[in-house]
């Protein structure tokens, strides 16, 4: 418990510095807002100014962040951060690891594993929201999302996390370079569904990695079958409910939703 408090105060030191910067940013932004003169037909005085609440927020946040900073210094959080930095640098220089603090090492390892798992979740969300949804067929995007997260976390194997994680990073780099070089526009001009096909390949590649790990035992194989079934069925049902029952147009309806689902739906109707 005491150890947790110490860690929390260390984090407070860093957070308070970030918050102080943010509150100064808010105050600078507010100082640029009209405090006097005429804006939008309204004669400004300080108490009508749009800057009034941002200034109060900025000052309030600044005072509270300073209290947080002082508290972290008083309760040795700042000292802890400095010690950590010094220890990190000295370890890096000497290339030796102390064996006496094995408990600390195992705790650190557990923390790193947790951080890695969270990073994977954020990465898959990032791929879906920033890279896929604005450009690619919504249905295949959701299938990719579910297959990646569900597959990795439900099968829950360290080697799988490493392999699939590397693959996801590689695909992220490919997709980012396509998006930032505007290659996506050229690809769509050349062939309407080219991006949908790329994401389909990406989804299949994730499945292959999962499958390679799953064939090792029957229990994992069974789990993979469930993952595959749910990864396809859930997006199909959810998108169909939103599109046909709630009449919500999907962000992009491409090869999979427009050409397959829409065709089936309108043929049956």
């Amino acid at each position: 418990m005491i150890e947790d408090k110490v860690t929390m105060r260390k984090r407070d030191f860093i957070t308070s510095l970030i918050l102080i910067c943010a509150s100064i940013g808010i105050l600078i932004g507010a100082s640029r807002m009209p405090m006097k003169g005429n804006y939008g037909g309204v004669q400004n005085v300080w108490y009508v100014s749009p800057a009034l609440l941002p200034i109060i927020i900025g000052i309030g946040l600044l005072i509270l962040s300073c209290i947080l900073l002082i508290n972290s210094i008083v309760s040795k959080g700042a000292r802890g951060v400095i010690d950590d930095v010094v220890a990190f640098v000295s370890k890096k220089n000497s290339h030796t690891t102390s064996t006496s603090d094995s408990v600390e090492v195992s705790k650190k390892l557990a923390r790193q594993i947790s951080q890695f798992r969270v990073s994977i979740v954020v990465l898959v969300f990032f791929i879906l929201i920033f890279l896929l949804i604005p450009r690619v067929d919504f249905l295949i995007s959701l299938i990719f999302f579910l297959l990646s997260i569900m597959g990795m976390f439900y099968l829950n194997q360290a080697t799988l996390f490493r392999k699939a994680g590397r693959l996801l990073i590689a695909w992220t780099l490919v997709l980012c370079s396509i998006a930032w070089s505007n290659l996506d526009i050229l690809l769509v001009q050349a062939f309407e569904f080219s991006l949908d096909i790329i994401v389909f390949v990406m989804t299949v590649s994730i499945y292959i990695v999962l499958r390679k790990e799953a064939i090792k035992d029957t229990e994992t194989k069974k789990k993979l079958r469930i993952v595959l079934l749910l990864s396809i069925a859930v997006p199909v049902i959810v998108t169909a409910v939103f599109r046909y029952a709630l009449l919500v147009p999907l962000p992009v309806e491409g090869l999979f939703f427009d050409r397959i689902c829409n065709s089936i739906y309108y043929a049956l109707r």
Partner: protein, 502 residues
């Protein structure tokens, strides 16, 4: 006279709801969904309300309210399942229930404990509903006398008190979260002069940030991340046996039920504080007042009854400030406020004039939701337990998918998704650093009220703050805010110590 009119209108609404088969179907469906959300560790009533909000967008307001109130009531009650059967509260609201519910299950009384919590929850919701119908119109009437200063102070009070009481670490971390929420609310063109504030030239930010995607991000994304991080799954579940309402025990504990209900309603009506605090306060009070405090923690039936009554009575309590003042009483109520805004309903003192049928309608829904919850709890408990066996790594990604499509469906805007993810990641980081999320959300919701009323009040008083000290309600609110802040500092503790020594 007004109360009689409300009562009559309430009875008419009950009759109308009972004869509406679609409404009943939606009610039972949403209550079942709520119980599943509440019972599943990692999912909360707030998240359930958030996700369902997006599905109710196309419904009429009345049906949408049936669905949202149903999931809210079911969600708060559902947490008791895992609290009793596995010693892991499904929601924070039933954390106190686990203290005695699990020992009861270990003794082989899981079915009895579930029967008691189901009945106690239904009674708690019912008593909360009684206070909504009687108090909301009175408070609305009083609030009509409020000027902009009172509304500004009320919004500020909501943020400060919520920050003080929900912070798991240092008190001022709650206030920081509140200020961050306020900051999010000022983004966009201001309502008075249409001046762009902190929009950074992004046109999508001109109209301000959409509340629902922000709330989904703040409540949903951190939950998904933390559950997947630990890859938690429900194991070692106790068998239920026969579930009986055990009315005899309930009748024996009527004083406990009444006291816990009053605690629940009282705590629920304080802005931003949720059902979890109601449960704990009720538990502590019941233990102090009990003739057998030694039984608490070892499977006391009284403890299980008091916590479940209080957390469900809190729903009614949370609805009172929401409907009469436009200030949400708990995190799920904050989400409900977002949903109401989506449907063009503006809760506050004017609600009784603009939409006189709304409060009786809500209370009628609350009553039927408590009955539906009791029926579902008694008949379907064993089926709910089966759902709990689904691993979190399976349903959490599906919840993520629903968060995404829900946030998008609100405004058919991809920008909402960016907002949801960014707010979600920030909320996760804040949670990990010991900052509460409720004040942040309350800040986002009450920010516009704070901004507009402060400037309007100062405009009327020509920049003078004197009216705060001249108007009794404003002065009381001001003093309460000052007292809340001072009581959280070390200085107050020293003064208290000095006085106690004397």
């Amino acid at each position: 006279m007004q109360m009689l009119e409300s009562l009559l209108s309430f009875l008419v609404h009950i009759g109308y709801l009972l004869t509406d088969p679609i409404g009943l179907l939606v009610l039972f469906g949403s209550v079942i969904m709520g119980i599943i959300f509440g019972a599943t560790p990692g999912l909360t009533a707030t998240l359930g309300v958030a996700l369902l909000t997006t599905l109710t967008y196309g419904m009429n307001t009345s049906t949408a309210m049936i669905a949202l109130m149903g999931i809210y009531v079911g969600g708060v009650y559902g947490g008791s399942y895992t609290a009793i059967l596995v010693n892991i509260p499904g929601t924070a609201a039933s954390a106190a229930t686990a203290m005695d519910g699990y020992p009861l299950a270990c003794k082989g009384f899981a079915g009895r404990a579930l029967g008691l919590t189901t009945t106690a929850s239904a009674i708690g919701t019912f008593i909360g509903m009684f206070f909504v119908i009687t108090l909301s119109p009175v408070i609305s009437e009083l609030a009509l006398q409020f000027t902009s200063f009172e509304f500004f102070l009320l919004a500020l009070f909501g943020i400060i008190i919520s920050g003080s009481l929900t912070s798991p670490d240092l008190v001022y971390k709650g206030w920081i979260a509140g200020f961050l929420g306020l900051f999010l609310s000022v983004i966009g063109r201001d309502s008075l002069q249409v001046y762009p504030r902190f929009t950074f030239g992004i046109s999508q930010l001109d109209s301000g940030i959409e509340v629902v995607p922000v709330l989904i991000g703040a409540f949903g994304i951190p939950q998904i991340m933390s559950v997947l991080k630990d890859n938690f799954s429900v194991t070692g579940m106790k068998s239920i046996g026969k579930i009986l309402p055990d009315f005899k025990t309930i009748f024996k504990h009527i004083p406990v039920i009444l006291r816990s209900s009053l605690i629940g309603v009282g705590i629920g009506s304080v802005p931003g504080i949720g059902e979890d605090i109601a449960g704990w306060v009720s538990y502590g009070t019941a233990k102090r007042a009990s003739k057998h405090p030694e039984e608490y923690g070892n499977g006391s039936v009284e403890a299980v009854i008091c916590t479940e009554t209080a957390n469900n009575a809190c729903i009614g309590g949370a609805m009172i400030p929401l409907l009469s003042l436009g200030v949400p009483g708990s995190p799920p109520a904050a989400m409900l406020l977002g949903a109401l805004m989506l449907h063009g309903v503006n809760p506050g003192p004017m609600l009784t004039f603009e939409n006189p049928e709304f409060i009786p309608n809500i209370t009628a829904i609350l009553l039927l939701a408590s009955v539906a919850m009791w029926i579902c709890g008694m008949l379907l408990a064993k089926q709910f337990v089966k759902v709990l066996r689904i691993p979190t790594s399976i349903f959490m990604p599906i919840i993520g998918l629903l968060c995404i499509i829900g946030s998008y469906a609100i405004g058919l805007n991809e920008f909402n998704l960016y907002l949801m993810l960014i707010v979600g990641v920030i909320a996760y980081i804040l949670t990990e650093q010991g900052y509460p999320i409720a004040p942040l959300v309350i800040g986002v919701i009450l920010g516009p009220m704070c901004d507009e009323n402060l400037r309007r009040a100062l405009m009327v008083s020509q920049g003078s703050f004197a009216p705060i000290f001249q108007r009794p309600v404003a002065l009381i609110l001001f003093l309460v805010i000052v007292a809340t802040i001072l009581s959280s500092t070390g200085m107050f503790a020293k003064v208290k110590e000095k006085f106690s020594k004397k």
